[in-house]
């Protein structure tokens, strides 16, 4: 079983939903970024997704896009991220996932990236602009180094297409909650329970729900069978950090026991 799947199942065994915060590399500043990662790790994150900035992030909403462009302006690059991860290997208990667009990985060299990422302690990679139709070579290169290519599916992904992902994927299935780019919303869209149910039918992997999550309240309406195994939050955390908030305070809302 892949280590990312184990992390989520470990949370499930203790009766809780796994927590997967997303932070763009080098955000809110290059100095503070690793403090944020350490704080997220210490305050209950099971897996941490680190965003690799790209100039043209078509699957992201305005908050993540702005963070991405800010990171690029301060000189954040995939090479730099890999070097820092290697230097800090072992400091973080949570699973580590890099999330970024295809081109920076491609220019780094996919084979070399897979090797370097494994050495630096990366467990998984999410590439939003790499649908299954284009993913085979990348997935195999990553798998040869023990790294999972996490599938992203959404409300308009048919059961047939989900099955294509399910057949080859490891780690967890990332279910996008909304037909739109990332960003915060109030209530969950009405189709979420149905999408989660569909993903559960098709994937044997744990199911993570993301895009638009802001608070645990949003998940309260879901029945126990519908509840995702993990929640991913990006934009809301970035906004919290941008406003000067502590990562630990953000996590506390999600780890409060009464949920």
């Amino acid at each position: 079983m892949h280590v990312l799947e184990e992390k989520i199942l470990a949370a499930r065994r203790t009766g809780r939903m796994a927590l997967i915060p997303f932070v763009t590399a080098g955000y809110p500043s290059r100095e503070c970024f690793w403090d944020v990662i350490r704080e997220l790790d210490a305050s209950g994150a099971d897996i941490i997704e680190i965003g690799v900035p790209f100039s043209d992030p078509v699957a992201d909403g305005p908050v993540v896009e702005a963070a991405s462009l800010q990171a690029l302006q301060t000189g954040v690059s995939l090479h730099g991220i890999m070097a820092e991860l290697l230097a800090r290997k072992g400091e973080v208990q949570a699973g580590l996932v890099l999330m970024g667009y295809m081109n920076p990985f491609l220019q780094y060299g996919l084979e070399r990236f897979a090797q370097d990422a494994a050495k630096a302690g990366v467990h998984g990679v999410i590439i939003p602009d790499l649908p299954i139709d284009e993913a085979e070579e990348t997935r195999l290169l990553l798998r040869s180094q023990g790294i999972a290519l996490i599938p992203l599916v959404g409300p308009n992904t048919s059961e047939e297409r989900m099955a294509l992902y399910a057949e080859v994927s490891e780690g967890y299935a990332y279910v996008v909650s909304v037909m739109g780019t990332t960003g915060e919303r109030g209530a969950l869209p009405a189709e979420v329970p149905e999408v989660l149910a569909r993903a559960r039918r098709v994937f044997r992997l744990p199911v993570a729900l993301g895009f638009g999550l802001r608070s645990p309240e949003q998940l309260k309406g879901l029945s126990p069978e519908e509840r995702p195994d993990a929640a991913v939050f990006g934009s809301s955390l970035l906004r919290h950090l941008a406003a000067g908030g502590r990562a630990a305070a953000f996590m506390e809302v999600w780890t409060r026991p009464e949920r």
Binding site: D56, G61, M102, F105
Partner: protein, 389 residues
Amino acid sequence: MKKGYFGDFGGCFVPELLMPPLMELEQAMKGILPSAAFQTELNDLLKNYAGRETPITFCPALSRELGFDLWLKREDLLHTGAHKINNTLGQALLARYMGKKILIAETGAGQHGVATAAAAARLGLSCVVYMGAEDVERQSANVRRMRLLGAEVRPIESGSRTLKDAINAALRAWISMQADTHYCFGTAAGPYPFPDLVREFQSVIGREARVQMLERTGRLPDHVVAAVGGGSNAIGMFAPFVQDEGVRLIGVEAGGSGEPGCLNSAAINRGRPGVLHGEYTMLLQTDDGQIMPSGSISAGLDYPGVGPEHAWLNAVGRVKYEVVCDSEALAAFQKLCRAEGILPALESSHALAYVLEHRESFTPGSTVLVNLSGRGDKDMDIIEKALPL
């Protein structure tokens, strides 16, 4: 499962949420587009609404000066002023057959936006055009034209506030409104099936020109030249000639000011392969894979990528891609105005400029066909700033 490749180039690098509408479009392209009903209706629109076929024009004065025969394919005479309408009428009609109610489009200079707005108005569809905020400012006449034609123009403030950001915004919008919306992509680039679909609609240029040259000169041209930004006018012109081995094809990229290290739009000549906007193609990018800003006096060529079929035609050597800088394009613009009484778009001026600047590379007595993809009226503000009038 890979689809839509030209050699190594092309493909479909989009979020999974965009795969269903792209697959729906592929089905429509294969099922609806070849049908007699669709073709009849499209041909009627092209003929009686857009003004096809466009003539080929012999240039007597320039031919005398150059020592070879120069012909122009007159896409500048089309409704809305450029070849763009060939594609937007095709896609708008296809969208209507698919039951879509809304067209969204990106635009840089505004030509594709105007052509989409016109096609949408004609076919009873709503239209939203995404346009970089900087382009909204520098192409205000086209913004007004789009609004008059009933389109909503949404300025995009993110990134470099130009065409590539408008494409990002349109792709994002399409994710959330795909049920009743068709994304009318403006050039022969982007994810599969757009490069095929746009080439299909633009190939009317080369099909007509091939027949016309045979009729008027008794043989095929020796050289066919077209400007390449994203590459839709060029692929439309080249595609029907690709099998004619004796016809040399030349694509002309925009080199910007021409100073060393200047912003340019010559993705094939100065770029490297990578992934942007759903396709693997030649791109202007940094070593880290970040997309670089592009630049050109011609807003319609100002794009850091190029259609994947061009990247492939270059790789296999079937088309030669050359670079022309701003000042050369301006000189060609002036030359055509004075010598032949035709006011070309700055995009088309790049194609012409290559011929004028490299006249020695064309055999005396040979026949050269240039795709005059658009008219220059839209460029008057830029030209007034650049040239003493």
